[in-house]
């Protein structure tokens, strides 16, 4: 503890925490950039990372929606699905405007064009849903979005002829690279780049005046409105924005980058709940936190499929090996649930929150003001006033 204090003060005198924080960030990014070049790493790890990046995008954008704007949506996965499915259907069937008698054949639409269309579709639906949700708060909003995403899932599953039902719908591949290793390399960088871009976009929004307004709305919608914040506009805006981000990410991920086809099971509430859990564990109200939470949780869940426990002191199991393998199976998720619940209860801002705040100078400032307040003698006033 003492040592830590000394270290802390050293940092504060030295480069300062914020700078150090940026440094750490840069190092992390560099690590991820270097990673695929590590020959010892198999493509499988890369694949795990790729899906990790994808879910990082999902839960950090959800963190903006739920954590910062306080819009507690369970429809996030559905929006992702809309993006992917729209892209896939467009690329397969093209568009036909019966009334105008004009039709755009699938061959004229490039994979990327399809992705863009998917993104727009997700945004459009986000607009409608956001508008519908204006009247609903908290639990009602959650319930409505659950209903929405279930409806979407059931439709995708049932309209077998159009969506391929549970066989899933395969999107037009974004990259055509024969060599598996090279392909995986490119996909890795593509997804990582996407994550960086999305995080940057989310970060910019969160720290712009808009972000401020969103937080104000989260705290108290009426008050915010009374202070001149156009709640309607920003509420809808945040829905459209996040829907487009996840729609885009989804369309890309399923264009044979992370996966070769999207299946309705991906849209089950279970999947959504995983995203929420990641965000909660990482810290719902910090984008980086949520992203990191998602990435780490996914990695751990993956790594925990098979836990090899090496026995100390040359002990051996009955068949003579010095290690035995534990396959936690569902216990992983059970454990995950426990972690989530306890995080919520005892570290509401997520397990990474302390680290993140430590790096932001905010809490230095806080400490100072706290000390000042203690010196301040309106303690009595506070107690008295709080009795009202």
């Amino acid at each position: 503890m003492m040592i830590f204090r000394r270290f802390e003060s050293a940092i504060d005198q030295g480069i300062g925490r914020r700078k150090l924080g940026y440094l750490v960030l840069v190092l992390v990014v560099l690590f991820f950039l270097w990673f695929p070049n590590d020959a010892s790493q198999s493509n499988y790890t890369k694949t795990v990372f790729i899906s990790g990046f994808f879910y990082a995008i999902m839960s950090s954008s959800w963190a903006l929606l739920a954590g910062i704007a306080g819009q507690f949506s369970f429809g996030h996965m559905a929006f992702m699905g809309i993006g992917a499915y729209a892209a896939g259907l467009i690329a397969r069937d093209g568009i036909t405007f019966a009334m105008l008698g004009l039709s755009i054949g699938p061959e004229t639409i490039s994979a990327f064009g399809a992705i863009i269309i998917g993104t727009i579709a997700a945004g459009a639906v986000g607009l409608v849903i956001g508008w519908l949700l204006l009247r609903l708060r908290a639990a009602y909003l959650a319930l409505f979005t659950i209903a929405f995403s279930e409806l979407f899932r059931i439709m995708m599953l049932t309209e077998y002829d159009y969506t391929g039902g549970s066989n899933g719908l395969s999107l037009r591949p974004l990259l055509q690279i024969e060599d598996v290793d090279a392909a995986r390399q490119v996909e890795y960088y593509l997804m990582f780049g996407l994550l960086i871009v999305c995080l940057f976009a989310l970060y910019r929004v969160a720290n712009s005046p808009i972000g401020l307004f969103l937080r104000a709305m989260r705290e108290d919608e009426d008050a915010a409105s009374a202070l001149g914040v156009n709640v309607v506009r920003y509420k809808i805006l945040v829905f459209v924005f996040t829907s487009m981000i996840v729609g885009f990410a989804g369309a890309i991920f399923y264009s044979d980058v992370g996966s070769e086809r999207i299946i309705p099971e991906q849209l089950e509430i279970l999947q959504m709940s995983l995203i929420i859990a990641y965000a909660v564990i990482g810290g719902m109200e910090s984008l980086i936190g949520a992203a990191a939470g998602a990435f780490i949780s996914r990695y751990l869940l993956e790594a925990m499929r098979q836990v090899v426990i090496t026995l100390p002191f040359g002990m051996t199991t009955y068949d003579g090996s010095d290690a035995f393998v534990w396959e936690p199976g569902y216990w992983r998720f059970a454990l995950f649930g426990v972690v989530m619940v306890f995080t919520l209860r005892y570290m509401r801002n997520g397990l990474l929150y302390p680290i993140i705040t430590w790096f932001s100078e905010r809490d230095i400032a806080m400490k100072e003001t706290v000390s000042r307040r203690e010196s301040d003698d309106d303690h009595a006033a506070r107690i008295e006033a709080d009795d009202e």
């Binding site: 739920a66 306080g70 507690f72 519908l132 009247r135 609903l136 708060r137 908290a138 639990a139 009602y140 959650a142 319930l143 409505f144 659950i146 209903a147 929405f148 279930e150 409806l151 059931i154 439709m155 599953l157 049932t158 989260r218 509430i269 279970l270 709940s273 929420i276 859990a277 909660v280 199976g329 569902y330 216990w331 992983r332 998720f333 059970a334 995950f336 649930g337 426990v338 989530m340 619940v341 919520l344 209860r345 509401r348």
Partner: protein
């Protein structure tokens, strides 16, 4: 249903106009000078007579003669019913079977609903009329009767009371029904002579399963009414309830057989109290540890916290069960050894008949269990001190606290009881549906629909909501024009209603104002 051509034409061309004429010319005359009739303008009387006569013939005329007070509302309603009925009957004949009902259901209906929902309430406000429920009524009406709703609500902005809602709702339902009929005339919902039996059968199915559903929903609504919290662990509690019952019965039967040496299988009814007891404890503990701090102001954004924490709890329960019990479907013995109750076919004449109606024995039993438990709960809430205390707390925490009720205990109690009810319905259903760890998901979705429909926090609402959902699902699956999709969309029907209620009347049908 499609009434027979000759009958229809006979009425449309001859009887209707005849009595309409009577209503039009005679009624105002004889009603003239009678106090209760003079409150209406002559034109109103004329139109009322016209419609009444056309719709109900002599009955209508008689009605308006003996009960002039009814003239306005009755004639309005009749008018609407007529328009829809005739139009749909004509449609059935004119339009070819593969007329896309989507056209109305997905385009025209919602369009008019949206328009009405947008303009009418404003109009009400401009006229300083009481605009309570105007929105709902407008939307319903717009969907049901399209532009006519403007004619109905624009000129004379009537006070929207329950009959209005029910009438319009019924009309909407009728609209869908008629469209289904058009889509697929061989649809058993419309094709005589089956229709009568079939609809009764489906309604019965709906009511039976509905009562079972509501038992679970009641728990949800109880928790909400006291704590203002929607439990997202409800489905999983329902699921573990089933499992507790299952394992208890298995062991009990085994050991009893051991003792007595004869092969005994314990009736699943005994599983219910066991499951109830265990889950009650679980619920109480969870509430103490994780929900209590909410009410001590240790947590901001309470509702979100509640959602997440219960959600995580459910997550944990589901996977723990999966790890312990495995994915293999389980089921207990039946409650009663009667496979089904059957009401035999009754012939009116050689082509018209009614029945048979079947109800599966165990379901009937489970329904009874459900109803008994719900009424027991109601009795408990009304009569016992604790029950009253619970209600008081749900009314007004502070006031309750002042009168010496300990709100903290009430919270714990409410959550524990709510969870217990979920577990009980689980234990009551495991003899009927086979059990897997993810069985809660579909069920809980349904009970959200139910509680919102009935109004979060209202126990009778939950019962009604359950029955409505049951019927909607049964009729939806049963009457969907495309049999191959009807079943697959079964849940979807309830979900659609759910979404609509949330948007139009978030307080539900019986609910208090939302917290």
């Amino acid at each position: 249903m499609v009434i027979e051509d000759t009958l229809f034409i006979l009425w449309l061309m001859v009887a209707g106009p005849l009595w309409a004429a009577v209503g039009l010319f005679v009624l105002p005359g004889i009603n003239h000078g009678r106090a209760e009739a003079d409150q209406f303008s002559p034109t109103t009387l004329k139109i009322a007579g016209l419609i009444g006569g056309f719709a109900l013939g002599p009955i209508g005329v008689g009605l308006f003669f003996f009960e002039p007070a009814l003239i306005r509302r009755t004639s309005l309603t009749l008018g609407v019913v007529l328009t829809v009925f005739i139009s749909s009957q004509v449609l059935v004949r004119v339009i070819d079977p593969n007329f896309p009902s989507a056209l109305w259901l997905l385009l025209a209906g919602p369009l008019w609903a949206a328009l009405a929902a947008y303009f009418i309430p404003r109009h009400y406000r401009d006229l300083e009329a009481d605009d309570q429920n105007a929105l709902t009524a407008a939307a319903l009406g717009g969907f049901a009767i399209g532009p006519l709703i403007f004619g109905l609500m624009w000129k004379t902005t009537p006070k929207i009371n329950r009959d209005w809602m029910i009438t319009l709702g019924a009309l909407g339902a009728w609209q869908i029904y008629a469209l289904f009929a058009i889509q697929n005339p061989t649809n058993p919902c419309v094709a005589l002579p089956f229709a009568a039996t079939y609809l009764t059968q489906q309604t019965a199915n709906g009511v039976v399963i509905g009562c079972i559903y509501s038992l679970m929903a009641v728990g949800l609504t109880l928790i909400y009414s006291v704590q203002g919290v929607v439990s997202f662990a409800h489905g999983q509690l329902y699921m573990v309830g089933g499992y507790f019952s299952f394992y208890f019965l298995e062991h009990a039967s085994y050991h009893l057989s051991e003792l007595t040496g004869s092969d005994i299988s314990v009736n699943p009814i005994w599983g219910i109290p066991v499951a109830a007891f265990i889950v009650f404890i679980m619920g109480a503990l969870f509430e103490r540890v994780f929900l209590k701090p909410m009410h001590e102001g240790l947590i901001e954004r309470v509702s979100e916290y509640a959602i997440l924490i219960t959600f995580g709890f459910g997550f944990f329960l589901e996977y723990t069960t999966l790890a312990v019990a495995g994915p293999f479907p389980q089921k207990t013995d039946r409650f009663i050894q009667i496979r089904r109750f059957t009401l035999d076919r009754y012939h009116f004449n050689d082509e018209f008949f009614f029945g048979p109606i079947h109800i599966i024995g165990d379901r009937a039993f489970a329904m009874v269990v459900g109803i008994v438990l719900i009424f027991a709960l109601l009795y408990f809430l009304q009569r016992s001190w604790t029950g009253r205390a619970l209600r008081a707390t749900s009314q007004d925490r502070q006031a309750a606290a002042v009168t010496g009720i300990n709100p903290t205990n009430m919270n714990t109690l409410s959550f524990a009881m709510g969870s217990m009810l979920a577990a009980m319905s689980g234990a009551a259903l495991i003899p009927i549906f086979n059990w897997v760890p993810w069985v809660g998901a579909e069920m809980v979705g349904r009970s959200y629909v139910i509680v919102v429909l009935g109004g979060l926090g209202s126990v009778p609402g939950a019962l009604a909501g359950g029955i409505i959902v049951g019927i909607v699902e049964a009729l939806g699956a049963g009457c969907h024009p495309d049999p191959s999709r009807g079943a697959a969309y079964k849940e979807a029907f309830a979900l659609v209603i759910f979404a609509l209620v949330l948007l139009l009347k978030p307080t539900g049908l019986f609910g208090r104002e939302q917290h």
